[in-house]
Subunit: 349 residues, 2 copies
Amino acid sequence: MTSAKIAVIGGDGIGPEVTAEALKALTAVAGPDTFEFVDYDLGAERWQRTGEVLPDSVLGELKSVDAIVLGAVGAAPGSKAIPSGLLERGLLLKLRFAFDHAVNLRPSKLYPGVPTPLAPHIVEGRNVDFVVVREGTEGLYCGNGGSVRTGTPQELATEVSVNTAYGVERVIRDAYRRAQSRRGHLTLLHKHNVLVNAGSLWNRIFTEVGREFPDVETKYLHIDAAMIALVVDPAQFDVIVTDNLFGDIVTDLAAAVTGGIGLAASANINPTGEFPSMFEPVHGSAPDIAGKGIADPTAAISSMALLLDHLGKPELAKKIDDAVTADITARGADKFSTTEIGDRIAGRL
Amino acid sequence: MTSAKIAVIGGDGIGPEVTAEALKALTAVAGPDTFEFVDYDLGAERWQRTGEVLPDSVLGELKSVDAIVLGAVGAAPGSKAIPSGLLERGLLLKLRFAFDHAVNLRPSKLYPGVPTPLAPHIVEGRNVDFVVVREGTEGLYCGNGGSVRTGTPQELATEVSVNTAYGVERVIRDAYRRAQSRRGHLTLLHKHNVLVNAGSLWNRIFTEVGREFPDVETKYLHIDAAMIALVVDPAQFDVIVTDNLFGDIVTDLAAAVTGGIGLAASANINPTGEFPSMFEPVHGSAPDIAGKGIADPTAAISSMALLLDHLGKPELAKKIDDAVTADITARGADKFSTTEIGDRIAGRL
Ligand SMILES: CC(C)[C@H](C(=O)O)[C@@H](O)C(=O)O
Ligand SMILES: CC(C)[C@H](C(=O)O)[C@@H](O)C(=O)O
């Protein structure tokens, strides 16, 4: 196996802690010579020290790696030290946009024995196992907005959701393919009764591309109705496709109902392979628990399975998935430290 | 008590069925002469018959009533007979905007014995009782968007969220007042790390108005984090304030975790009293169960308590609330028909 170059951005808060465990699993499953890890010191600390968020030179270097592993980025909400959104937009979203991460993949699976906030009658005997395919390069995340008379009683602030047929089509096609190779069911989430322009575009492409996948059964749900569906009958979903903001919202709920954000992995995929894809847990930097060694690294470790899959090593991906599943089941409701969980999973590889 | 004029728009699907029970409760609590009900035939059926959604003459008439009772509006998602969003935007949202319904009030309360999709360890012994104050006249609901090269592979579709200091301030002030008269806690939901322009405006006004309410404790949550909070610890909330779209999303989840959309009432309030306010259940027209007599009218009936409160009759509002609470508790998980529930509650008034 040739060595692949992996850029590692531990980032802020619990990011570096969980990332260390993710790399431990990666090395355990693939051997010491498969991956070359290159650390990048980016995030709140670097910004406070140097005023730099993501220098162009670093962006240029990152462009040539095989994949990026990211921990978490972002200051505590309400923090006065770092302007709101600076790191999220300057680093995390910058990478997603610069490297054209059109497909933001977020699997959710409720493992046996894992505590869930849902009642037994909702989940018992049901197979809660679905994937959200979130669009990653458009929508309200474009940074297309502004304000006038800012800071005055006459302020007007706008945010623009930008949707193109090109962007919508590639993510919808990706979602159909995934549905085809899973249980053959795809749900589109939107709000086309209010957002009629974007909604018509999403609807049209969903129908058009669907003709190429006659074996995939489809369904449409308004985003508000999806909130209800996810808590009263999450087992109904196989693959969900939606836009950037709805995807952000729905994947946190999906994570919560399937055992928590500590277990939710994600991949930001560049579909053409022109740029490196990026793998990160869904959770944020969680400054409140940073440095305590109690962050759950499972999501970061599971993200490595998505990385291995993407780099053409599905057998190794499966090994990580199996080790994670076995360990989650064995852990039950017991609590372990960050390194304990990392060691337990690495020990199974 | 002088007679107040109430416009009644039963609307589509289960709308007329649940509205009949709401009026039954209103008459039972206030006597036969307190309200004059005027029926308005609006909705899918009228549009199909006449091509009219909301004629200007009707809008003009509605302007002079004391309050509007609305059932539900909208065709089945995916219906080919009625263009997507036509009724929602042409009737429901048209009324909210024309009558400047700035404050969309949506209480959520988990009554003892009511089935919830949440696990016992989340809700047992906890007081889940909060109100969402949703902005009703701005945001992504303005209809400010469009598309070019529509229907082609080069289509571009946009949706614009419009936020003004004026609009944000009045709803935030309303929310602070409500928090002050409840348990003194107010949570702002937004996504200011991504939607920095609108987010800054909401944040700024939230802080500024907060200075007038030093006794109200405040908190900020990103909308995605709020999804988690609502299923793992809903008892933490007292009053939530948020924008139009986030409010739409969060209130369906709130309804789901507190016993379902069949119980969720709402008020669309015009703060100055210049225009009539409108009272409606949160649920939609539910075409799949329309005509079967099985729709739960509780939300529509509870909305009448909000109407009575708004019309300055808090004692009568309380009677409805008490009757609804007693009946929900007595019903437990048993199923009753629409009219049975209406009769049971009216019988307690
Ligand atoms: C940190 C934030 C910008 C990000 C997002 O909104 O996409 C996060 O919530 C996520 O879901 O990856
Ligand atoms: C029917 C629809 C336009 C409406 C909304 O989005 O506001 C509904 O979902 C609601 O919450 O009242």
